[in-house]
């Protein structure tokens, strides 16, 4: 069984988002695109129908070597031989679920504020969901927790957390910038004509941020020396704590965690586009983007070709 730590992209079923297309076909496409975990969420069907779906997804996920989680229903998870069960704040308490499923099964908990997540971690949850980050049709009426909670979770939790709620290729960069490195999507994937392509895009975004993390770890020594030389204005305490620096970005004040021009471009969703960059009035060749480091109050311009005579 794949370790939960190695899982980055989590996709939940939502059959109302793909009327006319079979569940297994849609979820198989998601797996083909890079989903590491599939969760069955079905609150409508009869027990028999739900068990049938669970068994189909179990067979599918086993064939592809990805994790299979069942939402809410511990008995169904056991009956279908799932890898885990996922519980909401109002479902069965974690302790009781653990007694029922034993140590071998994963337990995930939905959390909507830091106290929920810390409690779940204390009680032995294997992972938590953090969200809804953005308002979502999947959970109408629930207030969005915004990326502020994502940032808290990133700095406080030791167990893996998946950012969930309104996650799509359009919003992923913002969530990753806030500190998430695992994403969970529903409608953006299963409601899309090409679930595999959406998963590929999301997975690539995650991998870009992980690569940037690795680079940052190796570069940390250099950054410290620069600061000690005293030639950089110190950012305020709060921003320094999360490693953010102020920039003048396309003429507007902005804060960023990005260490290089390349990382900033990634954060803005500009990677892979024909875009030109300028730092403090000097054009930066594309080949140097990942080497050119940002300092507080740098003036950064991203430009492109538009129609003209």
């Amino acid at each position: 069984m794949r370790a939960i730590e190695d899982c980055k992209l989590y996709v939940i079923t939502g059959e109302t988002y793909h009327p006319g297309r079979p569940l297994v076909e849609v979820m198989e496409a998601a797996i083909a695109g890079g989903a590491d975990i599939v969760q069955l969420r079905d609150k409508e069907g009869t027990p028999e129908a739900r068990l049938a779906k669970a068994k189909m997804l179990r067979a599918l996920t086993r064939r592809h070597g990805v994790l299979f989680i069942v939402n809410d229903d511990v008995e169904l998870a056991l009956a279908a031989d799932a890898d885990g069960v996922h519980l909401g704040q109002d479902d069965m308490p974690l302790e009781e679920a653990r007694r029922r499923v034993g140590k071998g099964m994963l337990i995930g908990i939905s959390t909507h504020e830091l106290s929920h997540a810390l409690k779940a971690e204390r009680e032995g949850a294997d992972y938590v969901g953090v969200g809804p980050v953005f308002p979502t049709a999947t959970k109408p009426g629930r207030r969005a927790v915004t990326t502020a909670y994502v940032a808290e979770a990133a700095s406080q939790l030791r167990i893996p957390f998946f950012a969930i709620g309104g996650i799509s290729p359009a919003t992923a960069e913002e969530v990753l910038a806030a500190g998430a490195r695992r994403l969970c999507a529903v409608s953006a994937v299963v409601g899309h004509a090409d679930p595999a392509a959406v998963c590929v895009t999301l997975k690539r975004s995650i991998e870009r941020w992980e690569a940037e993390d690795a680079r940052r770890r190796t570069n940390r020594g250099t950054a410290t020396i620069t600061a000690l030389n005293g030639d950089v204005a110190a950012p305020n305490a709060a921003d320094q704590a999360v490693g953010r620096i102020p920039l003048l970005l396309n003429g507007k004040k902005a804060w960023s965690e990005a260490v290089t021009i390349g990382a900033l471009a990634g954060e803005l969703g500009l990677a892979g586009r024909r875009v030109m960059a300028e730092l403090n009035g000097e054009a930066v060749p594309r080949a140097d983007w990942d080497a050119v480091r940002l300092r507080p109050d740098d003036r950064v311009e991203f430009v492109q070709f538009v129609g003209g005579g």
Binding site: N250, G269, F302, V303, V306, G307, G308
Partner: protein, 271 residues
């Protein structure tokens, strides 16, 4: 035979078309692509602008150009000094689409006429940095010479202010620029229709650049084709040599062998 597409060489590149096409203000990217095809143009111009970071979307413009054998000519519009134009040119070069640049430094808010001093400075600096520089200039033969000395690969005098469609307001000056120049002359700005394109070529221009008259025509694709033919007609006409203009009529056939006596009206003038 596409005689008009006999080689014009600028900055080491041999061009198959003497018509340069701008990419701004078309009704849609698709219309622009069709107009580009109808025009046969090889050199296409662009402007450089900030990306709207709030609305990150794919750039439809360059997508229309993928896979085509085009020469990219970014302009420095938006610059009002040589420093700004140099910055834009350096940024444009990082797109990886060659080293051509049209220096365009407008001073006047309503006429958008080029600032001669800043244009000359920018041309000099960019030519030194290895750019292929095509400065947009007013129809001043002396300024054109100065730009050539500064390293311009071609000069681009305006027929009239940008986007006015007034045509060539001073053919005498354009004629003198052509007469003096040792680099190609591309008439840029102000042309309104295919007849203006032909006129420019008949005056001896090596090519023309149009944008607004094509993009804003009722049928941009049709006008693009008309411009192509206008350039070709004007170029052929120039090479074929027009007859001297004269004050009086001259019959197309000899009088000898006429059936009737020649008219000798009282007071008639004898050539």
């Amino acid at each position: 035979m596409n005689t008009a597409y006999s080689p014009l060489k600028i900055g080491g590149i041999t061009l198959r078309s003497r018509l340069f096409l701008g990419t701004g203000r078309y009704p849609s990217p698709a219309v622009m692509r069709e107009a580009l095809e109808a025009s046969g143009a090889q050199v296409v111009t662009f402007a450089v602008r900030r990306i709207d970071l709030d609305v990150v979307e794919d750039d439809p413009l360059l997508g229309q150009m993928e896979g085509k054998d085009l020469v990219c000519l970014p302009n420095t519009s938006g610059a009002s000094t040589a420093d700004e134009a140099v910055r834009i040119a350096r940024l444009a070069r990082e797109a990886g689409l060659g080293n051509w640049v049209k220096v365009e430094i407008s001073g006047h808010p309503r006429l958008l006429l080029p600032d001669p001093v800043e244009t000359l400075r920018a041309t000099e600096r960019l030519a030194r940095e290895g750019f292929t520089v095509l400065p947009y200039t007013s129809d001043d033969p002396m300024q054109a010479l100065r730009l050539e000395e500064a390293g311009a690969a071609a000069v681009m005098p305006g027929g009239s202010p940008i986007g006015t469609g007034l045509g060539i307001l001073n053919p005498y000056q354009i004629g003198w620029i052509v007469e003096n120049a040792r680099v190609p002359v591309i008439v840029d700005a102000g042309l309104g229709s295919a007849s203006d394109a032909a006129t420019a070529m008949e005056l001896g221009a090596d090519g023309i650049l149009v944008n607004t008259p094509v993009a804003k025509a009722r049928d941009p694709v049709g006008m693009a084709a008309a411009m192509r033919l206008g350039v070709e007609a004007g170029w052929l006409s120039r090479r074929a040599g027009r007859i001297p203009q004269r004050a009086y009529a001259s019959a197309s056939s000899d009088e000898a062998g006429g059936l009737f006596a020649a008219p000798t009206a009282a007071g008639g003038l004898q050539p």
